[in-house]
């Protein structure tokens, strides 16, 4: 006979929304210490390397920002849909579509210089991502096809499409048959915010987007509409909000931001398209969106937390020989705990006796 049971809260707990991510991190740290310890590693040392070392060293900070910025951009876009119960899990595909569209501009203009090229590439990236997201939006609104499945399937199509382009028509003609495009020229490459810095223009853009998203979601009718459609679809219909419009808007927003992230990554840290470009950021961004509680500011922090675990995982490999696979397990644990503690937002844990008494009352 269980001593505790879950009792649904009347309203989601605001306090728990803030507390549970911290609780998840704390549980991950504890579990990580024990698990790595059992595996014969210095458990506490591993946790310190993964979670603390990257933050303790200011040299690592720009790297954290570079790693976090695409995750944040994609996650914000996806979270808008998740708020409205639109399950776009094809962020990776939209990210790639954006990179491909922007690269198409870069390859068409590679002999040219000019300040106009980069904005055009960015625009192409956004449109590319939107176009890729428009397919699930169309199929959902027109035929009622689940966007979960179509957006996921389209990701594979996008990955193969990118492979086809970089191995075939877009292969660098001077590149000895290596499957990659030519390097972008100076006018096509994202500038750093200050000379010699690793921090490129994509990082302030990600922060700006997070602020804009916050304002739009919290302070505008459109943001309110998204929330209502997600929380109470029936009420939304009564209020004259169109579910159809919401689906289109949220998918286009998600696709556009993922596409922007794609071209920023291609024109920034990569400087070209290669078969290694699809790195699963679109999937990780789903994790980031949940870790950030679908809130733009939360996502900003969550993106940094994920970046810390990546960078920290690399440090742990060199410092104590912790295999990369262990970092993967660590990230999975973090997510498991986060999802597990999620329940506290909607439910409270009460002793069974109390619950019975309340039910009787």
């Amino acid at each position: 006979m269980p001593l505790l049971r879950l009792e649904r809260r009347r309203e989601p707990s605001r306090a728990m929304q803030y507390a549970t991510p911290l609780l998840a991190v704390a549980l991950t740290v504890m579990a990580g210490t024990v698990v790595f310890g059992l595996m014969g590693y210095d458990g506490l040392g591993a946790v310190r390397q993964i979670f603390v070392a990257p933050l303790a060293d200011p040299q690592r900070w720009p790297e954290l920002l570079v790693k976090a910025s695409p995750l944040v951009l994609i996650a914000i876009g996806l979270s808008i849909g998740f708020r409205a119960n639109v399950w776009n899990i094809g962020g990776e595909g939209q990210y790639l579509a954006g990179a491909v569209a922007g690269t198409a501009v870069a390859l068409a203009t590679w002999t040219r210089e000019g300040a106009w090229i980069l904005p055009v590439m960015g625009l192409a990236g956004i449109l590319g991502g939107m176009a890729w997201a428009a397919i699930p939006a169309f199929l959902r609104t027109r035929f009622g096809v689940s966007e979960i499945l179509t957006s996921l399937m389209l990701t594979y199509v996008a990955v193969q499409g990118l492979f086809f382009l970089v191995r075939g028509p877009w292969r660098d003609p001077d590149g000895f048959n290596f499957p990659q495009t030519r390097m972008f020229n100076a006018a096509q490459t994202l500038p750093a915010v200050s000379e010699g810095s690793l921090v490129h223009l994509g990082i302030p853009i990600a922060v700006l987007v997070a602020c804009l998203a916050w304002i739009v979601l919290e302070r505008t009718i459109a943001g309110y509409e998204v929330k209502v459609v997600g929380l109470a679809p029936a009420a939304a219909r009564h209020g004259g909000f169109s579910e159809r419009r919401t689906i289109w808007l949220t998918l286009l927003a998600g696709g556009g931001l993922a596409g922007l992230a794609g071209i920023l990554e291609a024109a920034g840290p990569f400087g070209q398209l290669t078969p290694q470009f699809p790195a699963g950021y679109g999937y990780t961004a789903i994790v980031v969106a949940f870790l950030g509680r679908l809130h733009p500011v939360g996502i900003l922090l969550a993106g940094l937390v994920l970046a810390v675990t990546y960078v920290g995982g690399e440090l742990a490999q060199t410092a104590i020989g912790l295999p990369q696979a262990a970092t993967g397990m660590f990230q999975a644990m973090l997510l498991f705990f986060l999802l597990a503690t999620d329940v506290l937002i909607r439910f409270r844990i009460v002793p069974v006796r109390v619950a019975r008494a309340r039910a009787a009352a």
Binding site: E63, V66, F176, F178, E265, F270, E314, Q324
Partner: protein, 359 residues
């Protein structure tokens, strides 16, 4: 993954001029020399990365407490590599090995910012005062395999499972086929492009398809032992890749091209310890032990062993170059004149196949 490009001779002169021994702190007797490795795959891949990790362990075994090695595995080629390289350098590693072609641009960029750290980039062509490059002449091993295949194939057709048509793969196919056609002038090599470095199930299915198309001997330029396992199952023969794969196919493996990075890694570590390290361009082969042949399988008859050994010895002695003319291409056009050998520069750009290759 195991990607290789070489344009060494184009740049060797310029880089050589710039390559002076670096005045660095070197390694004192007390503090061990930090040596970092960055891997593109997992050390458990039993292929390309595994071979480099064996080399890393050889350094540890050779120098003991005088060195301290560490590695970061599964690093994506791109921005992640740049970050890891910087971390390795700031983490006290004086000598850093970047073990995949795709690490080239990141390595060069990081090296520019950190002139007091020595970088070694495998299979690339960009050098600097503190960036050396190194590679292995795997095609020499391919010629030995081709010799054996020419003797032992009854159908006169070999199956070649290949990843991508980059020069490294192209020269391997060519060396293999040319060596086999010296024994059997009608020898053919069927190349099957699988567009992946690693997908065991697909590699195995490709092997079966090649066998069904009349190939009775298999070789591969992908990373897993799966094709060899398929040959074993069908009672046919094949060659291992990157390491001795005899445990996977005790009957089928005739020999294997073993990547042995240990001699180079030990040599360079010694230079770093002595303070004589400088930027060089190294392309070692059978002679230097960077490429080794695994012991012949039981199925290889005595006379074939002698022939294969002869080819190996001649390559080591420098009297035989696997890509020596006359070489005609697939259209029958003479590409390398009688008696001429392909230069390293021509090899490193090779994008055509000799007669007998079906791709």
């Amino acid at each position: 993954m195991a990607s290789i490009i070489t344009r060494r001779t184009l740049l060797a002169g310029a880089a050589g001029a710039a390559a002076l021994p670096l005045a660095g702190p070197g390694a004192s007797a007390q503090a061990p020399l930090g040596i970092g490795f960055i891997y593109v795959g997992p050390t458990g891949d039993y292929g390309w990365t595994h071979a480099h990790d064996v080399g890393r362990k050889a350094i540890e075994a050779e120098f003991g407490p005088k060195v301290k090695t560490s590695f970061v595995e599964n690093v994506a080629e791109g921005p992640d590599a740049e970050r890891v390289l910087r971390q390795l350098a700031s983490g006290g590693n004086k000598l850093i090995f970047a073990t995949s072609f795709g690490f080239m641009n990141p390595t060069v960029r990081v090296a520019r910012a950190l002139p007091n750290t020595w970088f070694e980039h495998a299979t690339g062509y960009q050098r600097a005062a503190n960036v050396a490059t190194y590679n292995a002449r795997f095609y020499e091993g391919r010629a030995v395999c081709g010799t054996i295949a020419g003797h032992m194939s009854k159908t006169g057709t070999a199956g070649y499972i290949a990843s991508f048509p980059i020069p490294e793969v192209v020269m391997g196919i060519s060396a293999f086929t040319l060596a086999a056609r010296k024994i059997n002038p009608n020898f053919k090599t069927k190349v099957l492009w699988v567009s992946t470095w690693y997908d065991p199930a697909k590699e195995a299915d490709a092997a079966k398809a090649l066998i069904d198309q009349g190939c009775d001997i298999l070789t591969q330029h992908t990373d897993s032992p799966a094709p060899l396992q398929a040959a074993e199952q069908r009672g046919l023969f094949g060659f291992g890749q990157a390491s001795d794969m005899k445990t996977y196919a005790p009957k089928a493996q005739l020999t294997s091209i073993v990547d042995d990075w240990a001699p180079y890694y030990i040599r360079r570590t010694k230079m770093a310890l002595d303070g004589t390290w400088k930027s060089t361009d190294t392309w070692d082969g059978l002679k230097e032990g960077a490429v080794r042949m695994a012991p012949y399988g039981d199925a290889v008859p005595e006379n074939v062993r002698r022939e294969a050994d002869l080819v190996k010895d001649q390559i080591i002695a420098g009297t035989l170059h696997p890509l020596t003319g006359p070489i005609k291409d697939q259209k029958g056009e003479l590409r390398v004149k009688d008696g001429e050998t392909m230069s390293d520069e021509a090899l490193s750009k090779m994008d055509w196949y000799p007669e007998g290759v079906q791709s």
